[in-house]
Each structure stands twice: as structure tokens, then as C-alpha cells.
Amino acid sequence: MSIPLSWYLILSAALFSIGLFGVLARKNAVAILLGIELMLNAVNINLVSFWRYGNIASISGQVFAIIVFAVAAAEVAVGLALIISVYRRRTTVIANDLDLLKW
Amino acid sequence: MTFWNDPINLISEWLRGIFMGWGMAANLAMVITNIIGIFVIILFAMAIAIFLVWVERKVVARFQDRLGPNRIGPFGLFQPFADIVKLIIKEDITPEGADKLIFNMAPVISLASVILIWAVVPLASQIYGVDINVAVLYLVAAGAFGTLSVIMAGWSSNNKYALIGAFRMVATMISYEIPMVVALLIPTIIAGTMSLKEISNAQNGIWFAFLSPLGLLLFVISAIAELGRSPFDLNEAESEIVAGFHIEYTGMKFGLFYAGELLHAFTFGGFMAVFFFGGYGGFFGLEKLAAFSWLSNPFIQMVVFLIKALIGYWVIMWIKYSMPRIRIDHMLAFNWKFLTPLAFVLLMMTALLDKLLAPTNFYVSGMFISNLLFAWIVIEILRSRSKQERAHDIEHAEPVELAAHH
């Protein structure tokens, strides 16, 4: 294992920033969710590399990563269901046009 | 260590020695040896696929009271080679409006997802690619790429039939993945490991098919659905959507899908053997006797494994050519309302009984009888349900007007 921890952390920071850009800059609601997936993956890379570079005997990092998988699945399930439901009512998936809740 | 006891390690040691004699670093020599080994495994798998083309055509012909290919070579054995030549020199048509890159990638991923599985297939106790401790999950992961290739092919073809076929196929594959994973969990629980080699070795005394016959049944049904073969072949229902997701593929690209499907079916036959019929071993302790010690020879084990896999493949073919196609709503309802709950209840029962009965003397008989009892209860419930439904239908049936006044 000749890779320093910093490489993983920098990669995950880069992935997180790219995901953040996707969330902020995309018009389409589905694309925003894609950005969130990238951010969650960045978090997972961090968790697993901290497990590997920290105390290997304690399995916490992997357990946390698994919980993040569950959270990602739940987020996608509800998020996409919401988008499809909104699409049926308003026939749009452009986040800016979804302005029913103005007040 | 002689050639007859441990051929793979012997050959790889020998090759590594040669490479290192040329002045290569030890790591590089090992990687190159591995690459050669991988090529051998993949080419072996492809040779099986070519052989399967002949088997498939010959067997379907017999099922349909025909002779099948019998012109090229003895018993038509060289027919697959003629097929390959034909496929290669056929014109490759890319439909207008297709997404070229994805269109071309789909067949490659489809076949690669099947080839990938062969990295963990335990052909014999000493002949296998790699023995990882998460092999069962690896099998499921390779299947994920199969699903992906279907959706890529269907979407990129720019064809309604292809898209409908892909949607149906993906719906089938993902739905039936749940009972399949649960069916895989059952041998995992009984053997206490996910390594395929250890699962095979755990069945030296008794096959898991006897410990969990219902698990075997679940695995067979869900494997057939994963393959998209009849009765679950509504993804390529000829009468409605012609060929499904690969409708626009011609020549060798179609050939790759076809080879992938056949090899996948055979591989599932092999996994049926690994998980439930002892894999390369499972002679009920016979190999411990001095007279039968030759059963532990890796070459014999490989032959045994291939025969078991071929029998599994034959069962899949048998079902394919005897069953009519079912409708998509029936298929999904069958999975979600029957197979999935059944699978989870079976899983709970297996886990509980495995724990409770393990220290006792009647482990095997207890597991087998509990499975039979469970199957009987399920059948009784189904029978009473269908009786109720029939009574309900008769009560609410509208009287039929006589149409004809001849």
C-alpha cells in the first residue's frame, strides 16, 4: 500500500465539488439527483479510506459506508418518486419551473 | 505436486520459472502467467459456447420432432463453425438514429458480463480462476452488467420494439433478482461462507439439494427468468415485438448476444451444480474409500462438474421448449406476490432451523422434512385461495348470451 491517504481525500474532495456543481448548475431535477449521487460517493470514498488508513480492526468505516448505501437508496427512491409525481401534474422536470410553493 | 494432482499450479510455476529465467521481475512474471491463465479460461468458456450452439439446435430439434443440423460434419458437429463464419461475413447494419457508441458497446458488455462470471467458476478443487470470499455476491454483481447491456441495447437502437423489449427484460431481470439472491443466501447460510470452493466442499457429505429442495426450486425459476428464456421470454416475444431488445442487431453483434445467452444458461446450470449438487465433488463421502480415491483427481472433478452443468442446462432447455410464454403482468405478479414472500419465509425458516438443528442428530432429515412440510402448507393455501377465487368468479359471472340463431 504505497498510496498516501491524501490521494484518496483529494479525489473525494474533487468528486464532491463536481457533484456540488451538478446540484447547483443543472436545470433538470433528475440531473440534480445525479449530482447528489456523486456527492454521496465522495463521502463513501472518505469513509472507506479512513477505515483502511485508521484502525482496521474496528470496522466502523465499512459499517458507515453501508449505511450510506441505504441512505442513497432511500434518497433515490423518494426523490425520483417525487419528480415523477410532479412531472405527472405539471409535465415539467425543470427545477426552476416548480414554483407552486411560493409563499 | 504432480501434473495429475495439481495441473494449474504446476503449469503456472513452470511458466513463471521460464519468465523469470528471461530476467523478468517476479511480479511481472506472475501477472503475465495470470493473463495466460485468463485467456485459457475465457477461450475454454467460448469453446463451450460454440459447442452449446450445436447442443441447443440438436436438442430443440429433438423436442420438436426434427433432426436438427446434420449436414456439416458428423452429426452436424461443425454447424456452429459455419454459423460463426456466416455471422462474421454478414453486413453489419447500424440503424439510422442509433446512438452509435452505446449501440456498439451493448453486445460487448452483454457477453463480457457472462465471461466475467467464469473468473470464479470452480471447475475442480485445483482448477479455477480465483477463489474470492465474496464470490456469491460477485455473481449478482456480474448480473448487474447484463441488465445494463439490455437497457443500453434497447435504448440506443432507436426502435420502439427494442425499447419495449428492453423494458420488459429489465423488469423481469430486476424483479427475479430478489428471489435469486435469497435462493443464493440459503446455501450461504448452510455453508457459512460465500466462497464457491468452500460451498462445494461443504457438500461432500450431503448435497444442499436435500437440505433445501425449495431453495433449489427457487433458484431454478429465478435463474430462468434472469436468462429471459421461456416461459419468461416475453422480452423477445416473436409475435409482438419480433426479437425484443436486440431487434436491430445484425451479424456478429447479434452473435455476441446469442453466445452470451447460451453461455449464461450453461453457467447457471453450473451454479445449480455448485450451490445444490455438490459442484465438482459431492460424492456422499465415496471419495474417502480407497477404491474410489480417483474421484478426487482434478480432471475427474472437472468432468463431473461439466456433466452436472450440462444436466442443469438441459433442464433449462427442457423447460424452455415445453412451456408457453406468460404475460408481463402475470409474470411480475407471480414474482412479487408469490415467489418473493415465499423466498423470504423460506430464508427465515432455513436460518432458524440451521441454528436449532445443527447440534442435533437429525439435522439433515429435519431440514428436508421441514422443507416438504412448508411446500405442503403453501400448496394447501394456494389451493384454498384458488377455490375461493373460482367460487367468486362463478358467483359474479355474467350469463352468456347465445350468439347464434341458426
Partner: protein
Amino acid sequence: MQGQWLYIGLFLIIGIIVPIIPLLASRFLAPHKPNPIKQSTYECGIETVGESWVQFKSQYYIFALVFLVFDVETVFLFPWAITLGKLTIFAVIEGIIFILILLAGLSFAWRKGMLEWA
């Protein structure tokens, strides 16, 4: 341990290269004379009407949704399954509670009529 994953990585690369070889052979050997009729979308000879991207039944999506949740949970059961032999009966019951929570979700979907192809 890592050597095994290296092996699988190599297997993946070669497993992708091998199917490409016949495709390349076909590219050199097969004729290539495209024309508009040949390249048109195949719909049994009938002229194509409208876009190929038709609106799909949302029921497919519902099944994918249920699948996603079940897939995640069954994958979680694998570490439980391999350690079961060394654990007490208590751990088995924990796993069963986990599965029962999962089945509650399925029965909810069933009750709601979301498993019907309506």
C-alpha cells in the same frame, strides 16, 4: 487478497477484449454498403410512426422502486448469513426481525394495489 482483485481486474479487461475480436474481424470481412432503406428502423415493414421514444407505463418504475429497496436489504443480509454459524440464536432472531420489517413494506405495497398491473 489484493492479488485476487488484480486478477479479477485483468479478467475484466480481457473479458472485454475477447468479444471485440470477432467484431473487428467482421468489420474487415463483412461488406459495408449502407442505404436508407436498409438503415431504416425495423418494424416488420410498416413505416415508422412517430418517435421511437414512447411514453412508458409508470408501473415499470414502481417495480424498479420496490426492487431497489429489496436489493439493498438482501445485500445487507450477506454479512449476517456468513457469520450465522458462529453466532447465538439471538443474532438469527435479529436477522428475522430485519426481514420482517422488509416484508411489512411488501405487504404495504400489495395492500395499496401497487403490485397490480392496472
